[in-house]
Symmetry: C2
Subunit: 404 residues, 2 copies
């Protein structure tokens, strides 16, 4: 009995040391990628580890070719200082990469991105009208096979899947999304087991929020809400650096805030849902235009025609109410509006920050930014890969090491 | 240099051991209070610590009179088993207590509660119409002095303050609440420094959510939204055991979800805010009644008069929209409706859970409970004290120990 306990504790101890090593490697990578740490002393100060400990970790990461050193400053904006030339560190290009799968309503996309958020491979395939699970999985595997084949010189650390919902993110399962062909009840982890790569699943909005948090221009903010506008409207929420999933992964459905009991009927069963006024497709419908280009042309005119004006007014009014509600309920540092074509972005952004800050409940005590995404329409794609990087930064996906 | 580092590391090491000790004591208390652990073996299994480690912690807590042991089962529902009588553990009554201050719009309340959520002292004072900071602080100190004097035989671990907002919860400061006499810009920590007790501040709704999470009948749920209905409507949110403050502590303002652009004007600047339909005071107004009793009498009638019927209908419709929005945005396990007088509770609860679960976006994939608070109107009071207990469970407030 005593021996067993002893043994149990020993195993635990060994596990903990390995765990600590992973955590430390992960912390160093995270600090370098996200906070632009450029030297051993930087890392030591920020992580509160001794220079010796940092050097050990850094040297291993160099041996594994994940990072490299140079006597040139990588930050060209910084004036060169006189005296001893410091050794700076950088992540080696394309040394750590992930495959990102973005399951959209009509298409499946497959990208490869490095851990610095640079997409260097992108293919997609349209889902046929009669798609079922077999078709869907065969498209998915086809895209994956090709991506892996065409990037075989690069180290791929995992497969991140950003998908329309509803999902069981913990069971890595796609339920039956409404109006999604005959596709549903798919466990991605099981179906993709043969690739021998970690599979991470989350909804497209949470993945997008993560992409903004890691690689967007506003990534210094710890708390952000990303709103994606396309055929629907949804949000991903990050508070103090953590994605907010709610209890079962269904948080963030901001498109279905009902703002008018007399508004049009929504598929969800309510009336006057935000999505019915503010999605790109509904804006086109409401302005009587057939394309973003046509709408952009109208907006560019000196006088917007009456029929379009009303649609734009309704969209903007609904957007204001949504932004205020999001500010009141989540209290983020910043709200990022994503997937909006640049040509019609003025409808979505002009005057919004000001209006929201004047009307949110705690106006005067808190200032919340509202910005267009800096990643443009790439957010959900980088997002898919970011799901893998998140697990690397958290030490949950262990990088392969030359030292076995 | 080397000596310094050595020294630095040593201090750190010592700090860490003390920290570990606190954390372990805190974990044992938390498991006993909140999860009803009743024996050393229970604790050992649940916390993953060895029997020996648990015994060390438990014996110290017994020495300090915080917990006690008995050979009687404390759970009288459990049939006594034959064989060796097991030694069970329980928290000693009133061994760990906190003062709770609840700053309401018209009154200040002061309670003392033990760590098991039993309030055994309660006094309050009405704020005079001309109250300013001096009056307010003198009332506050008067209540505190008396509470401490009248409970001097009990160990008080801290002062928890649940207050109307806006607050700087990190700076422990009350800003200037709108329409709150001439009271504002008060740092509670500074003003109450002479009491030599830790001061914890949070808004009344977050404190209430914590009370439900710790001591309510539905405390087995890890994620809950507590909605408090009184003169206003607000919410406290706990997701996976953690209070959700947002970036600056302003999250959860569900009363200011605007659901009707043509609705009545709200003080916040929007139209048709939920609070205008669903607060108790607005429900009385809308039903043309002067008191909860009068409204209760109407509801009890076979036919509710037309003028009251419309007010009730509007309140219930708004409530449904609010519940759906909360489900869609936060995705909790349960929504708890609080501070509602029992006599009129049917207006707020009847059919709500069913309706919400049919209309929330992920209906069919997730089931969310809707319940009336089991703590009745006591929630914010226990909540104030819970702010202190939260810090004890987290190891941030250290219990005084006989072993110095």
């Amino acid at each position: 009995m005593a021996g067993e306990t002893q043994n149990g504790r020993k195993t635990n101890h060994v596990k903990n040391l390995q765990f600590l090593k992973n955590t430390n490697r992960a912390a160093v990578l995270k600090e370098m990628v996200l906070k632009k740490a450029q030297s051993r002393i930087d890392l030591s100060n920020r992580l509160g580890l001794t220079r010796m400990a940092i050097s050990g970790i850094v040297n291993e990461l160099i041996e594994d070719d994940y990072i490299e050193e140079s006597t040139q400053s990588f930050n060209s904006d910084e004036p060169r200082k006189t005296g001893r030339v410091p050794v700076t560190l950088k992540i080696s290009d394309r040394s750590i990469n992930a495959v990102g799968i973005y399951v959209k309503r009509y298409e499946v996309h497959c990208i490869v991105s490095d851990i610095q958020g640079e997409i260097f491979y992108h293919k997609s395939q349209i889902l046929p009208a009669d798609a079922d699970n077999r078709t869907f999985l065969s498209i998915l595997r086809g895209l994956l096979d090709r991506a892996i084949e065409e990037n075989k010189e690069y180290y791929l650390a995992g497969i991140g899947i950003a998908s329309i919902g509803p999902l069981d993110i913990y069971g890595k399962r796609l339920f039956f999304p409404p109006n999604f062909y005959r596709i549903g009840d798919i466990c991605f982890e099981e179906e993709l087991a043969s690739y021998n790569l970690p599979v991470v699943l989350d909804n497209d909005m949470n993945a997008s929020a993560l992409a903004e948090h890691y690689y967007g221009a506003y990534n210094q903010n710890k708390s952000l809400v990303y709103i994606g506008f396309s055929s629907g409207v949804g949000a991903g929420i990050i508070i103090k650096g953590k994605v907010q999933h709610g209890s079962a992964g269904f948080a963030g459905e901001v498109g279905h805030i009902s703002i008018n009991p007399n508004g049009p009927k929504c598929e969800c069963g309510q009336n006057g849902c935000i999505e019915l006024y503010t999605s790109i497709s509904n804006l086109l419908l409401a302005t009587g235009t057939d394309s973003v280009e046509e709408l952009a042309e109208l907006i560019g005119k000196k006088r917007v025609p009456r029929y379009a004006e009303e649609g734009i007014r309704e969209c903007r009014a609904a957007l204001k109410t949504m932004l205020i509600t999001i500010a009141n309920m989540y209290d983020p540092d910043i709200i990022i509006l994503g997937e909006i074509p640049k040509k019609i972005a003025s409808v979505y952004i002009e005057g919004m920050e000001e209006y929201m800050n004047m009307h949110m409940f705690h106006h005067g005590f808190q200032r919340i930014q509202v910005e267009l995404s800096s990643l443009k329409q790439e957010t959900p794609y980088i997002g898919a890969a970011s799901l893998v990087f998140q697990k690397i930064f958290g030490g949950e996906i262990e990088l392969k090491s030359k030292k076995v």
